[in-house]
Symmetry: C2
Subunit: 511 residues, 2 copies
Amino acid sequence: MNGAETLIQTARTAGVEVCFANPGTTEMPLVAALDSVPGMRAVLGLFEGVCTGAADGYARMTGRAALTLLHLGPGFANGIANLHNARRARSPVVNLIGDQASWHLAADAPLTSDIASLARPVGWVREIGTARHAAAAMSEALTVAQGPPGQVATLVVPADVQWDPAGGGAPVPVPSAADEPDEARIAEIATATRHGATILLLGGDALSAAGLLAAHRLQAASGWTVLVETFSARIERGAGLPDFPRLPYFPEQASEVLAGAEQIVLAGALPPVAFFGYPDGRSQLAPEGCNVLTLSAPGEDGALALEALGDVQGAPPAPPVAPRPPPKAASGALDPATLGATLAALQPAQAIVIDEAATSGVAYAPHAAGAPQHTTLGLTGGAIGQGMPCATGAALACPDRPVIAFQADGSGLYTLQALWTQAREHLDVTTVICANRSYRILQVELARAGIAEPGPNARALTDLGSPSIDWAAAAQAFGVPGVRVDTAEALADSLTRALAEPGPHLIEAVI
Amino acid sequence: MNGAETLIQTARTAGVEVCFANPGTTEMPLVAALDSVPGMRAVLGLFEGVCTGAADGYARMTGRAALTLLHLGPGFANGIANLHNARRARSPVVNLIGDQASWHLAADAPLTSDIASLARPVGWVREIGTARHAAAAMSEALTVAQGPPGQVATLVVPADVQWDPAGGGAPVPVPSAADEPDEARIAEIATATRHGATILLLGGDALSAAGLLAAHRLQAASGWTVLVETFSARIERGAGLPDFPRLPYFPEQASEVLAGAEQIVLAGALPPVAFFGYPDGRSQLAPEGCNVLTLSAPGEDGALALEALGDVQGAPPAPPVAPRPPPKAASGALDPATLGATLAALQPAQAIVIDEAATSGVAYAPHAAGAPQHTTLGLTGGAIGQGMPCATGAALACPDRPVIAFQADGSGLYTLQALWTQAREHLDVTTVICANRSYRILQVELARAGIAEPGPNARALTDLGSPSIDWAAAAQAFGVPGVRVDTAEALADSLTRALAEPGPHLIEAVI
């Protein structure tokens, strides 16, 4: 075996089955190893941001490490934005990056660059020195990536490390279980929350069905306010599950919701901070003097911690979740409200909904709470262009579940090449483009910055309507059937058809 | 004036007129400043790689600093690949990157990351600490970027530095002239090359018309072999100019061409190295024992140095360049040969040709040597996805010249969003997609790596044909008229029409 083969073999033995790849010349031995080592499936992305976003979606849905194969510094750089989202989602992603042969680095050939400097901002990095160390390095990367909590791990593999003969294998990484909750800490939180207004903020793995039901039990027993973090990697939603409101996005609205809290208890969530700082604003959203208590940190079992807290409080078992009316498809012209209602009304049971709908998606979530149970994946790191790649990876992870990419147009234009991978791999992804033909959030932010009448440059930088994007043509370019609709009825018809037919579809919903 | 306004004002005073931008919330004061400071034109790219590639093309054609405005670490990361190309082209590019407000960095909000670590691999970086330092920082960035030699300079500007009040302006950077050639060095090279086989390798600014004619004079007088570096940022070509062969791409072919040289004289070029290292290969391409002499380094005036060397040698003035037959359009099925001939035959005088045609473009250059005089911009850093953005920037720099993007399909898919900017700005860019529906160079590299029969994963990772991309539909999606051709006659018809009509066009040439 050469170094490349031990890398792939070690990953394969650890259970990795898919490699999201866009390799180049410095990865040829790794490409060959994807065939010579049995059982690996290579999935090509036409752009590296597709590969890394798909790896993130795959990792979120399987909970297992997802592998990418990317080309040198510039190829890796193209994947950084979605690795940033994966980092914030704590998704276990392992990147294999070929580098120049170690003896060729000093020549500073045109494609040479400092890959480690590019990789450090998204997580753990290791440069492999010799082929003999390759297997152990992969084992360590998988262990680091899988956590818990999960993280992004990058292996920089010089070409000679790939083609040189390597020794035997390495210990196969055994995924660690999440830490058990700390009894003393739980008792302390039970005491601290006996008096005064308490808000329970859920995030991370506490947004599983078990975590949400444990929070429902606490809420029923104590009357606490329960909130969900603003952007979550993965949350289970729909009929039979409690529907807790999200912490609002804008800091002044979030502060208002948190006002009066004497304690904020965190389960899987980090202390709430503003997404952006504004003039005369502050970073922390918790009221001054509020006691912020961590029940479970990322990497700990949030559902177990919530149940343990309920036990210490002597809370009765969770009451049944009150049924909610199922959402109804709307009629008439499309706008965020009619779009959200119609999508929620038609989404099938067990759907996976990737929500990068931004301002166009605000009306959807309340409707979807009444839909059949489903999973929603969110934009954790704010780096746009995540939705369509993430949907691609989720569909590869869960071939038996329908996947819906609920996608803002401006963000979707970053990584629309994902459509091609969906077509090639015959994935059941239905992409709904919310075509408001602007960076609406920036128009809002301009107004918030006091610019009531944007000048021509500010208008040009926030408008996507001249010319308008023809999304149906874009879909056709990549081999995906596409259609444009501008009424709720037409959207319902198109959605029904797209969800019934196998393979990917795209619907441009003009709002 | 606030910090944002002093930044834009300083750039404007230094002659910067265009800002290639895709901003976000942390750049709102800079967006406002693009309107409040008169005389700046903001050009939106739908993806940051479009902005940075366009800035590179603009800088290559104007020789002046090009400005970008990008959003935080992930937005900047999306632009790194084309900044890597700009770095290798020594293009003066200044990036303005908004960061979180300085007091908000510690909160580690979702979009926060280490921007400087991302930016260092492509050049100079400065984080601006206070609004009072903003103008001086821009002045320094422009000075550093403009060199000579040119480079990429990145300013990280926290949001509060943008909105805080700033003091007065800063000294306007005065572009430095290129260094004059060193007389002693030239005399030494004249002596060293009196005997033995000498190869003159031209690169960088020695590929101007003046540099090429000076090299022609030396060749006529001394009989030296003259070569051009493999990938050049910008070279003048066509009737009236000498046509020197390029140093081949693959190292064994390059070594063969250089074999027997006792001296290699570099004018604007770096010592030749292999693009990639191969097993049992070496980095340096010059034969063992060959004396590599630098006549002019990047940042020095190569044409002046070549003329000075001719003077020391007592070379007569350059003889006229022998006329070459003009290229003739081909007929029949399209392949790299008929495509190259037909494009060369039809390209108008003063065309700017961006060559990212990769393996499909090899037959074009010899034909184009007989075309009317034109400028060719190459893929300097090997980071694919440069052609269409670079063409966009070149067209903005030179509105009176026709621009042709001669584009490989696999590379073009990286940054096809550039078409939209071409449509919005009504740019005279004709994109010719060489649709071989594969990463052909990687199929070649697989064979070179000894993989005679690629397995299913290797085939999947190098094939773009299942499904085929419909480039005409992709063009339509972005507002550009597109057509597919598969004969030389149809290509000629489409090219004639595209070049005659104003605005952008795309031709998918199936080969």
